[in-house]
């Protein structure tokens, strides 16, 4: 197994995060979309507050277009995919051309859909499928388990971050943390031990049961500082 440079480790971690962010953003947008079918037309506002996005979209239409296609919006699907690509392009030899290609075709599809007047998020289902295919391809094709681990650590970090923002159940968050810790067994040096201890304390069932928004934001901050790449 070849040595992995610090820059490469950083790119793998962020590639994992951005792919996960694109996937989760689409997933959550579908839920908001569903809610707005027979809910309040302003239900979308809660979404961008949780995502900590500064842009205040005036209408539901603007919100949809902005969250999907606006590359300037760091929380948009377009931005996440582009950032994923910026990392992937420098990792071809590790993740393989076929794995990279799922990001490439997702970006191409998003660019094409942007110009479709009646843009419906359902049309973007293939991007969700390709993000899943990306993971499958990575698992099949990556030969170095440490490379796969760095990708998975990035994905799980991002997943925990978003789940905490959207107040997912304790069990689901604790499971992700358990998975993340499993992957870090290949790279124990990557974890900040102090932060790890803090997270473990906060993820005690009794402690978490008392969680409010502030608690979750603090936990989210710890999760984002846990891995040192």
């Amino acid at each position: 197994m070849a040595t992995i440079s610090a820059n490469k480790a950083n790119r793998l971690f962020w590639l994992g995060r951005y792919v996960q962010r694109a996937y989760m953003t689409l997933h959550l947008l579908r839920r908001v979309y569903d809610k707005m079918i027979d809910g309040e037309p302003t239900d979308y506002q809660e979404f961008w507050k949780k995502m900590d996005i500064n842009d205040n979209y005036a209408t539901r239409g603007e919100f949809t277009l902005g969250m999907l296609y606006d590359e300037e919006n760091p929380g948009s699907v377009a931005s996440s995919l582009q950032h994923a690509m910026d990392n992937a392009i420098l990792l071809r030899e590790d993740i393989k051309t076929e794995t990279m290609s799922f990001i490439e075709i997702s970006i191409a599809m998003l660019k094409k859909q942007r110009h479709v007047a009646e843009s419906n998020i359902t049309n973007l289902q293939p991007i969700t499928d390709w993000m899943l295919a990306f993971r499958g391809s990575a698992a099949q094709r990556i030969e170095d388990p440490r490379v796969l681990a760095l990708l998975a650590i990035g994905q799980l970090t991002e997943k925990m971050d978003i789940m905490l923002r959207f107040s997912y159940d304790y069990e689901r968050i604790a499971t992700q943390y358990c998975l993340l810790k499993t992957w870090t067994k290949l790279w124990p040096e990557l974890l900040d031990e102090n932060i790890d201890r803090q997270i473990c304390r906060m993820l005690e069932p009794e402690t978490y049961a008392q969680a409010d928004d502030n608690f979750r934001w603090t936990l989210c901050k710890y999760v984002n500082s846990l891995v040192m790449v």
């Binding site: 070849a2 992995i4 440079s5 480790a9 071809r92 290609s101 075709i105």
Partner: protein, 443 residues
């Protein structure tokens, strides 16, 4: 050569191009200081080389590259070819490609040009001519390699029906050569200047296919005459061979361009100590200078005691009075090349110049005869390609790749580049050209 049915392959062109987009097969171009990545236009009608032609080319290419490697060794050691008056010293030491820092350095296995890209054209009479030798960082092999992979995917029947040599072994040839050159069991790396290099796709694709580590500036350090790859926890792994895609002058800021951030400080020290192989060697520019080109057939005779198999395009050196007189008298029918330029730049056709420009050119040749070469315009064979659903004919060349490790081998394919402009002979991708796959027939 029997009848070859290409209809299915031709109809699959769009599918191949879509796959190329999906695989990110691009090249970068700087225009007005702005970097853009674009697809390399691919035409699915291949260049087909019959076996008999290939046998001739293969023998000639091996012979030529062997002579060039001998020349490089000689120039940086005994300089016998200069002493014997075969190549004038002005053409060796005045060129930009000569690197005095390489004097007396013994590269691993005495190999300088591990990867040579030899540009050829086929005349209308079927005669092949060498146009240029590229011994520094010849690029382009990855494109026909990936194109073949995709053509086989979209049109398998075409390859079932035709006995075409499989060209997807380029990465195996490259890996084997790197293994043979590798010092002390170190790792093999491909050193790229980074994403904003025009050939970055190729660097990353070849790293993927050879299993070499793609190294960026800053990933490698030299310590105690050895080169190391630095891991994320500062651990050091010995490097045995560097397939560098960084130009000579940027490879070592302690030796060449002091401002360079692309190279490895001190790498020349490790190289001189024989502790790392540089692929290709530093200083090869002295042998692929457009002026030196004229002397390559003479090198074949001098070093190998053989008749040159491949022909140069008829070339004149204004450095010699007799040639200068001919060039000045016939300039309007010749192509004039500035020996210091590359990539299709500095190439001027006399037929395209008005009287004023011709007079200026004559003056320039008189003032600096060493700077120019002149060649007869070869009426080279046009190749058919699809444009807007119609077959049209365009000028095309062939870059053949010759790899030298313990042995010299010729890759059974090559990069066929074509001009998209019907009036142009310039095929370079940087100037809008496209590419084709190159088929070498097995029978």
């Amino acid at each position: 050569m029997g009848y070859i049915n290409l209809l299915d392959l031709i109809e699959s062109r769009d599918a191949v191009n879509k796959w190329m987009e999906r695989y990110g097969v691009r090249f970068g171009v700087y225009k007005h200081g702005v970097f853009n990545e674009q697809l390399f236009p691919f035409d699915s009608v291949p260049r087909i080389i019959p076996k008999s032609d290939w046998d001739y080319l293969e023998a000639g290419l091996k012979q030529r590259v062997k002579a060039l490697n001998r020349f490089l060794w000689d120039i940086y050691h005994e300089k016998q070819i200069v002493k014997d008056g075969i190549v004038p010293e002005e053409f060796v030491y005045a060129g930009k490609g000569y690197m005095p820092e390489c004097e007396g350095v013994d590269p691993v296995g005495k190999v300088y040009a591990h990867i040579a890209g030899i540009d050829l054209v086929e005349g209308k009479d079927g005669q092949w001519y060498v146009l240029e030798d590229n011994l520094r960082i010849p690029s382009g092999a990855s494109y026909p390699m990936v194109a073949r992979e995709l053509c086989r995917k979209v049109s398998p029947q075409t390859f079932k029906d035709n006995a075409v040599a499989d060209n997807r072994d380029y990465s195996d040839l490259l890996r084997q050569m790197m293994n043979e050159m590798c010092v002390d069991g170190g790792i093999k790396v491909i050193l790229t200047p980074g994403r904003y290099n025009s050939a970055f796709f190729e660097h990353s694709y070849l790293a993927e296919k050879t299993g070499a580590t793609l190294a960026y500036p800053g990933d490698l350090v030299m310590e105690e005459d050895k080169v190391y790859y630095i891991g994320m926890f500062k651990e050091k792994v010995r490097v045995g061979a560097i397939y560098r895609r960084v130009s000579d002058e940027y490879m070592d800021p302690l030796c060449f361009e002091a401002q360079s951030l692309l190279g490895i400080p001190g790498v020349m020290q490790a190289y001189k100590a024989g502790n790392v192989a540089l692929i290709n060697a530093i200083g090869n520019g002295v042998a692929d200078d457009k002026g030196i080109y004229y002397f390559v057939p003479k090198m074949v005779e001098y070093y190998l005691n053989e008749k040159p198999i491949l022909q140069n395009a008829p070339t004149y050196l204004p450095y010699y009075e007799e040639d200068k007189d001919y060039v000045l008298a016939n300039i309007e029918k010749l192509v004039i090349k500035d020996v210091s330029e590359a990539g299709g730049y500095g190439v001027m056709f006399g037929k395209d110049m008005d009287e004023k420009r011709l007079a200026e050119m004559r003056q320039l040749i008189n003032d600096e005869p060493r700077r120019w070469i002149a060649q007869e315009v070869i009426d080279f064979k046009d190749l058919g390609l699809l444009e807007g659903g119609e077959m049209v004919e365009r000028k095309a060349d062939l870059r053949a790749f010759v790899l030298t490790g313990k042995d010299t081998v010729v890759w059974k394919s090559g990069l066929t580049r074509f001009s998209r402009n019907p009036d142009s002979f310039v095929v370079n991708s940087s100037q809008g050209g496209g590419f084709k796959d190159t088929w070498v027939m097995m029978k």
